[in-house]
Symmetry: C2
Subunit: 218 residues, 2 copies
């Protein structure tokens, strides 16, 4: 029996709310109907215990009994092992879900993360570096668009690969990056209208809103 605790920050500023990566884990847990607790660590002062669980000082991490796991991809893979709602059980389906899990992170988010950071910081200044990242993301979106035009979910049925890929593309969409990619936009819409996403998103927003109230009191 899994004994799951998800750790995220106690508070974050407004802009990343709804996009902090604990959402990916909440979403998977809700899809699977797995019971879990949510714990918090300070956003401001990250201590040695935090780094012992997450060596880059980031969130989330998940504990399952005495196992502590960081990296959203690794956590989703672990949860995939706990529920057929998150990962196909046949070897081909499982293999497809795993490769697309990596592809979401390493072929798409590797391009989209710097792109969204440049948008967010307003350093979208047409310099050669910005242009390189623009072109890198455009190329990756072209290929993922071709895939998503042909299938509902990446690995036959909904899986952790779709949680990651749609969450990565959702951030691109936030900054208008999917305007020319209708299949990708439809995929993000299809994924984010799932009740488990809505619950995970609402819970993350409520978690940080509660932190605001505690700050006001103190």
């Amino acid at each position: 029996m899994a004994d799951l605790t998800l750790t995220t920050f106690d508070w974050v500023p407004e802009p990343p709310r709804g996009f902090v990566r604990d959402l990916r884990i909440r979403w998977a847990l809700e899809e699977a109907g797995l019971p879990y607790r949510v714990a918090s660590v300070p956003f401001g002062d990250r201590n040695a215990d935090h780094f012992a669980h997450q060596p880059f000082g980031q969130v989330p991490w998940l504990t399952d009994g005495d196992l502590s796991i960081f990296e959203s991809g690794a956590i989703l893979l672990h949860l995939g092992g706990l529920s057929a709602a998150l990962m196909p059980r046949d070897s081909r389906g499982r293999s497809e879900a795993v490769e697309w899990l990596f592809a979401a992170l390493n072929s798409v988010e590797m391009a989209s993360l710097p792109w969204t950071m440049f948008k967010f910081m307003g350093t979208d200044d047409g310099s050669p570096a910005v242009k390189f990242v623009d072109d890198f993301l455009t190329l990756r979106l072209k290929h993922i668009e071709a895939v998503l035009a042909q299938r509902e979910w990446l690995a036959g049925s909904f899986s952790v690969a779709d949680i990651l890929m749609s969450d990565v593309l959702r951030v691109v969409d936030r900054f208008g990056g999917l305007a020319a990619h209708p299949a990708s936009r439809a995929y993000v819409a299809r994924a984010t209208t799932r009740p488990a996403f809505a619950k995970a998103h609402a819970d993350q927003m409520a978690h940080f809103a509660a932190a605001d109230k505690n700050r006001e009191k103190s």
Copy 2:
């Protein structure tokens, strides 16, 4: 019994030679002593069959019987399941290898890939975008340096996580990015003096050198 074929490009220009990602897979296969064949696809003209195996038109991919797997992380995870030389067999060790496999890609290479591309293209122009990526990589290297100062290998014993992390850091080192990170440099040296790395590297270089000779003949 595994029936393994690794597919890479038939030829690449000089600069990426020794760094094409099939090297990660060759290295793992050599560490495990698993027999494999190497197949080639055109670097120049990437057809529908190529995209059916690798939807982003990249390399490598691996076939194991009728299973075809893309993404170097997913391939290494698959190989980890085939050999204890690549992945600890206890659940804690396996979990650590998996999270560090993701961390190499998603916490370090996500910062180092744009950084190395900017270096390579000479767009290292001090613009805000370049500075953001510099700072992003510096922060990630600081944290991985602290980890590598404390341990020989990431997951207790040598694993696929070390293949990925050292290969990612090796590219940073190529452009002088590890000068202030002695533990990371020592780790790269420790990993790349392994006979399996030397064999994999020599085989990749020979593969592309043979392609040069074929081009001269034709």
